[in-house]
């Protein structure tokens, strides 16, 4: 490889610079079985995942696939790497609207011929633009509200099924040592994102590409979140943030918003003493469960586009055994394929089964038209509403203005 053990050993402090500078980048076309592909994954926290994806890659017969396991801020790294010729051929990720419009990723629509209906719509929709598919969903990740059954029954609190009930439950569960609810160290502005809007029956962006929360109900719902914060029932400043179940497991909070990936650990430590809920509905809205799904995409700068597409088809469409293994053997994700999700034994009982049902019934995915600029503006407002007690109506008015301008921009490009 690029910096081999040999060059490293040869590189004594003095001679090192020259020797190392003489090594070349070795990327691309070695002799041997077909071309070389470079495939990127973000670093998964669950042990065994990396070995598994390397096993899959090694099993691909038509090319030599090198796996790059990327720690750190993954989406930024792929975005930068897509600008160069030394980026990945195949990468997992969520191609952004600008990447699609800028022609940085390859159209993968034809790979899905015949199996399109087998993919969960909530996973496929954000990979779809102008009727074409730009990423093949790998797995589905969701976020849920975990609650401690014993703590709730001790306090005589029923699992909350409305936002008002959640606010009330969090207050009643709060004691001197235990807080009622943990929504992340920032009080929820980051992780909740659009979820409360969906729970209020609204949208971030409507199907016809308009602002989906230009509605007085949005302000009413977000104001309730401020009551959670102001009432002192939120856990703040825990050493590990919402994505890690530690605060919940350590008894710092009676309820925590966290990912599906935390479920095995919670189950292991708490046994049956916990349950999962969606984000409860508010007013006319039903509950909401945010769904995220990384997909496999192909870089338009790849020198072996066809091979790369073939590899994606092989791994993420044909090899259902690997797909199931990837979703369920290491971490805990819902397979993106409906047929696989139905088959999986681990998803048939207990809280896991609840999670699958809630995802099917209430799952929503952040729309592709929702850009990082929208996200920043909306989250700023949400943070000011929750923590600063800012007026939700005027805050949201400003966001609506920014988001419509941004929607105009992306529409002009298409």
């Amino acid at each position: 490889m690029t910096i081999s053990r040999r060059t490293l050993l040869a590189a004594g402090p003095a001679a090192g610079l020259l020797t190392a500078c003489g090594s070349d980048t070795g990327r691309g076309d070695d002799a041997g079985a077909g071309p070389r592909l470079s495939q990127w994954y973000h670093q998964y926290g669950e042990t065994g995942t990396e070995q598994a994806v390397e096993r899959y890659a090694a099993a691909y017969p038509k090319a030599k696939v090198g796996v790059q396991w990327r720690p750190g801020n993954y989406d930024q790294q792929t975005a930068a790497a897509l600008l160069t010729d030394s980026g990945p051929d195949v990468f997992e990720g969520s191609p952004t609207l600008d990447q699609i419009q800028g022609g940085q990723v390859v159209d993968l629509t034809d790979l899905l011929d015949g199996v399109r209906d087998d993919f969960h719509p909530a996973a496929l929709t954000p990979k779809t633009y102008a009727g074409r598919i730009w990423g093949i969903p790998q797995v589905i990740d969701t976020q849920l509200l975990y609650y401690r059954k014993s703590l709730l029954s001790d306090a005589g609190v029923r699992p909350p099924d409305t936002l008002d009930a959640l606010v009330d439950a969090a207050a009643r569960l709060t004691t001197k040592k235990v807080k009622g609810l943990f929504l992340g160290n920032d009080g929820g502005a980051g992780v909740l994102g659009g979820t409360p809007l969906y729970a209020a029956g609204l949208r971030l962006v409507t199907d016809d590409g308009k602002v989906g929360f230009d509605d007085p109900a949005a302000a009413r719902t977000l104001a309730r979140l401020h009551r959670l914060y102001a009432g002192g029932s939120l856990l703040l400043g825990a050493p590990a943030d919402w994505s890690d179940p530690s605060a919940f497991l350590q008894g710092l909070t009676a309820m925590q918003w966290s990912g599906l990936w935390a479920l095995p650990r919670v189950q292991q430590e708490l046994g049956d003493d916990f349950g999962v809920l969606p984000f409860p509905g508010d007013g006319p809205g039903a509950a909401a469960v945010p769904v995220g799904a990384y997909g496999a995409a192909v870089s338009a700068r790849s020198r072996h586009r066809d091979t790369a597409k073939d590899f994606v088809k092989w791994l993420w469409i044909e090899r259902t055994d690997y797909q199931e293994d990837f979703a369920l053997s290491y971490g805990f994700h819902i397979p993106a394929r409906i047929s696989l999700a139905k088959k999986a034994d681990r998803l048939k009982t207990g809280a896991a089964a609840d999670a699958v049902r809630l995802t099917t019934e209430h799952g929503y995915a952040q729309p592709l038209l929702w850009t990082p600029a929208d996200q920043t503006a909306y989250q700023d407002a949400l943070s000011r509403i929750i923590r600063g007690g800012a007026n939700p109506e005027s805050e949201l008015r400003a966001v609506v203005r920014k988001v419509s301008a941004e929607l105009d921009r992306v529409r002009r490009k298409s």
């Binding site: 975005a79 419009q101 800028g102 992780v191 994102g193 996200q375």
Partner: protein, 308 residues
């Protein structure tokens, strides 16, 4: 053309040759690896450069007007003007005081110097880790909250609450801890260059050790170092990114307070969403602000000018 003139010209040419022998290699590298990307960025700022470094859609000053009419960006610039006005003198005085004390202490001087300098060896990531997860976490078993508890105080969510803005305490302490030692070393290196004869002469002239000597000998002699320190401090304050990002961001974003301009630009334009034109415009604006502030403070303190 006299022989004398030819010699002079040769000497001038010679000096140019020597100058470039010394400065050339550095200048070439700086040109390639700093100026090329820099000018490239400036060029990008006049284009609609979403996810591309070779844009074709010229938009003139649109990116600049977009940013200057963006409340969040202007707000972060304003916040960091105030932050700079506070942190620069604080760090300056603190590190100079440490340098003077360490320089004059008779016992264990090497020990003290090491202790104050050691934090400079910590990366911002490691420091932010310690501050966020151990020292100033918001639960009752954090060190700061434990100490508060001894005095009967309730746990404080240091980084999460906005009223009062305790997060500034966290940010300022981590910054002082990380940076003071570095500037202290620069001051120490400066102090050791001061001609001891000056102090002897002052003592002969009856100057009282302490404030008089400090004002009339030490500080003026440290002027070149001070120029360097203040300049680096100002730039550092405006370009703050790492410790803020590591202390206050979560996987989903960054709160709308204590947000350095670079962090805001990162989320808006330079991270996953690559609006490189907008991001570059932001950088140009930020750089201009730094230039104005630097030149301004140099005038104010009479530092910048001719050093010789």
């Amino acid at each position: 053309m006299t022989a004398h003139g030819a010699t002079a010209r040769r000497r001038v040419r010679n000096r140019a040759l020597w100058f470039w022998t010394f400065v050339g290699p550095f200048a070439v590298g700086l040109g390639l690896f700093t100026y090329v990307p820099l000018l490239w960025s400036v060029a990008l700022s006049f284009f609609d450069a979403h996810n591309t470094v070779t844009p074709t859609d010229f938009v003139g000053l649109d990116n600049y007007t977009a940013l200057l009419s963006d409340d969040a960006f202007v707000d972060s610039l304003r916040t960091f003007l105030v932050f700079t006005a506070f942190i620069v003198p604080t760090t300056y005085v603190f590190s100079l005081a440490l340098a003077l004390m360490v320089n004059r202490v008779r016992r264990a001087r090497a020990f003290f110097r090491s202790v104050f300098f050691l934090p400079a060896a910590c990366s911002y990531v490691v420091a932010a880790l310690i501050w966020k997860m151990s020292l100033f976490n918001g639960v009752r078993f954090g060190l700061a909250n434990t100490v508060l508890g001894w005095f009967g105080g309730d746990p404080v969510a240091w980084l999460s609450g906005t009223d009062p803005p305790w997060y500034w305490l966290v940010i300022v302490t981590v910054r002082l801890w990380l940076q003071t030692g570095f500037y202290m070393i620069l001051f120490l290196a400066g102090l050791q260059r001061i001609d001891p004869g000056l102090y002897e002469a002052a003592a002969v002239d009856g100057a009282r050790p302490g404030r008089q000597v400090l004002w009339h000998i030490t500080l003026p002699q440290l002027r070149a170092t001070s120029v360097a320190v203040v300049l680096l401090l100002v730039i550092n304050a405006f370009q703050a990114f790492d410790e803020f990002y590591n202390l206050l961001s979560d996987t989903r974003g960054y709160p709308p307070y204590a947000r350095p301009p670079l962090v805001y630009l990162y989320y808006l334009a330079l991270g996953q969403g690559q609006n490189l034109g907008l991001g570059s415009a932001g950088a140009v604006i930020l750089s201009l602000v730094v230039v104005v502030v630097t030149v301004g403070q140099a005038r104010w303190f009479g530092l910048g000018g001719r050093e010789e």
